[in-house]
């Protein structure tokens, strides 16, 4: 695994929902190296810090990467205004991705803007994959068609019940896990969702990998700002989300540390 730093042309830009954008860049060497769950640290003209954005799809054949991101502030707003033909200033692929067992059934759980990084897992596992996706309401739903096309099963949940199951992703997750068919859960989303997913997995004795978020600096492990509390061999210490993560085994993560 190695990473690169450079400008890569945007070959497709789409608006997926209000304030959520999809961009595909032509970046063959990055696509070659990238793994599901990794991210890129993307530079924005006029801003000191790069913006960490997870990789949504990796097309090694066509040499492209897809990013789906939400506008959260002035930096991502500036990013979102870039158009086809312009370039993304990418440092990546970075971090550790998901470790997916071969030939076993898995569940991917995505909440809101945590759904994009799970799509590449779905692409790689297809019929072995069940997707459980949570959104605030119908207007925030993204990537539904892609998941439904790729996965054996796709379950939608909304906080307000406007589409799919009314409520958190944990109810359908528990229900599916009870079948005993699944050997792994991979999850990305807001902290309360991750906590609930981890609890549900523990209750069902199924391993879980989670992708975490934290305010980030360098993106490559040098500055040690994007820390999250982890525990290994009974010892608590701060890991780096960018370098030791963003994907962690659930049992290593201590939220609120």
């Amino acid at each position: 695994m190695s990473y690169f730093c450079g400008k890569y042309p945007i070959i497709e830009r789409k608006t997926l929902a209000k304030g959520i954008y999809s961009m595909i860049v032509d970046a063959p060497e990055l696509a070659e190296e990238a793994q599901a769950g990794q991210f890129a640290n993307i530079g924005v003209q006029g801003f000191t810090l790069r913006r960490p954005i997870s990789i949504c799809e990796i097309d090694k054949e066509n040499g492209t990467l897809r990013f789906v991101f939400e506008v959260r502030g002035k930096g991502t707003a500036a990013l979102s205004r870039l158009v086809e033909g312009e370039s993304l200033d990418i440092l990546g692929p970075l971090g550790n991705g998901f470790r997916i067992p071969e030939g076993k059934k898995i569940i991917v759980v995505g909440g809101g803007i945590g759904t994009p990084p799970m799509l590449e897992i779905a692409r790689q596992t297809t019929s072995l994959c069940t997707a459980i996706l949570g959104f605030r309401d119908y207007s925030r739903i993204i990537l539904k068609d892609e998941y439904e096309e790729l996965c054996a099963k796709t379950v939608l949940c909304t906080d307000d019940g406007s589409v799919g199951i009314h409520g958190m992703v944990t109810a359908p997750l528990a229900e599916n896990l009870k079948t005993g068919d699944y050997s792994l859960v991979c999850a990305c989303g807001p902290e309360p969702m991750l906590k609930a997913v981890i609890k549900t997995c523990e209750e069902n004795n199924v391993p879980c990998q989670v992708s975490l978020e934290q305010r980030m600096g360098c993106g490559v492990g040098a500055c040690v700002v994007c820390s999250c509390m982890t525990v290994r061999n009974g010892k608590e210490f701060y890991s780096r989300v960018c370098k030791d993560g963003p994907v962690f085994n659930a049992e290593e993560v201590r939220f609120g540390g």
Binding site: C5, Q214, V220, C223, V225, C226, S227
Partner: protein, 303 residues
């Protein structure tokens, strides 16, 4: 052919661009892009005699042309550094600077003693970290504090000793003179300016530590001024830092009085920026027929 080398306290740097402590890890993080040997030197992640957990996250906030950080000296301890990082650093890098911090004087002494017989080229005494409750900047804001740490470490090691100064003081030249008097071979400045950002929705400080250290281009003019003042006040060489992001900044800092410069925050934005600065300095020297950097160091002509 221009000569980019500079010499500080008997240590030769092949070029004057050093990665700043806390922004380049221990040299292992950017080797995918270019070898460590391209840099004049590296000031390693600030280390303490015992491993240190650091502050809770979030530890970073963006500001206009800058960032705040509140890492709080998370590190694996001096012995871990010596065991895990130093061998590779020596093999792959040029000048290796161990940045040392502590809560009490004995911590500084113990760390300096542990490093004394190792391969590090220089020790940079961090008496200016704004993000730890004990020690750190509390040493750096008074002549007595700064002088006493310097004096104690001076006795504990034969390594060339750099003292890194905080800008959060009324008169930085007084501190500079105090550490010079106690045997510092070099001063480096500026560490970060203490700052704060608040989330207007949650009403919470963005940093869990409430306050943090401001770095980046925002602080550059303050750094130039302080280097200029210190150059007039002391006779030991100065390593200038604080917001340098392009080669023009580096030249400006050297004109103000810096023999070498450190870059930090700029690397987060563009990991190649130190190499671009080295290249820019070389071209500037070429264009202006400057054979050695000694021709520009401290050569600002005040009105």
């Amino acid at each position: 052919m221009v000569d980019l080398s500079v010499r500080i306290a008997g240590v030769e740097f092949p070029n004057p661009v050093i990665a700043a402590s806390g922004t380049y890890g221990n040299g292992e993080c950017y080797t995918d892009l270019y070898p460590l040997s391209k840099l004049g030197g590296i000031s390693c992640k600030g280390m303490t005699i015992e491993p240190k957990l650091g502050n809770p996250p979030p530890r970073i906030a963006e500001t206009y042309s800058g960032i705040l950080n509140s890492v709080g000296l998370q590190n694996i301890g001096v012995h871990g550094f010596i065991e895990y990082y130093l061998p590779t650093l020596k093999e792959e890098g040029n000048v290796i600077i161990a940045n040392v911090a502590g809560a009490v004087i004995d911590d500084y002494i113990a760390a300096a003693e542990a490093l004394d017989e190792t391969d590090v080229d220089m020790i940079e005494l961090n008496i200016s970290c704004p993000n730890v409750k004990q020690g750190g900047a509390s040493w750096g804001v008074s002549c007595e504090g700064a002088g006493s740490v310097t004096s104690a470490v001076r006795r504990a090691t034969k390594k060339p000793l750099i003292v890194k100064l905080t800008p959060n003081v009324t008169d930085i030249t007084e501190i500079a003179k105090a550490v010079e008097a106690e045997g510092a071979d070099c001063i480096s400045l500026i560490n970060t300016l203490l700052g704060m950002r608040i989330d207007i929705n949650s009403h919470r400080p963005i940093l869990k530590n409430n306050t943090g250290g401001l770095s980046g281009p925002a602080v550059f003019p303050v750094a130039v001024r302080m280097v200029y003042q210190c150059y007039k006040a002391v006779n030991i060489p100065i390593i200038g830092m604080g917001g340098i992001s392009v080669w023009e900044d580096a030249i400006e800092m050297m004109l103000a009085g810096a023999t070498a410069i450190q870059m930090g925050t700029a690397i987060f934005n563009d990991p190649y920026s130190p190499l671009k600065v080295i290249e820019g300095i070389e071209e500037y020297m070429d264009r202006n027929n400057i054979k050695s950097l000694t021709e520009i160091i401290g050569q600002v002509k005040p009105w």
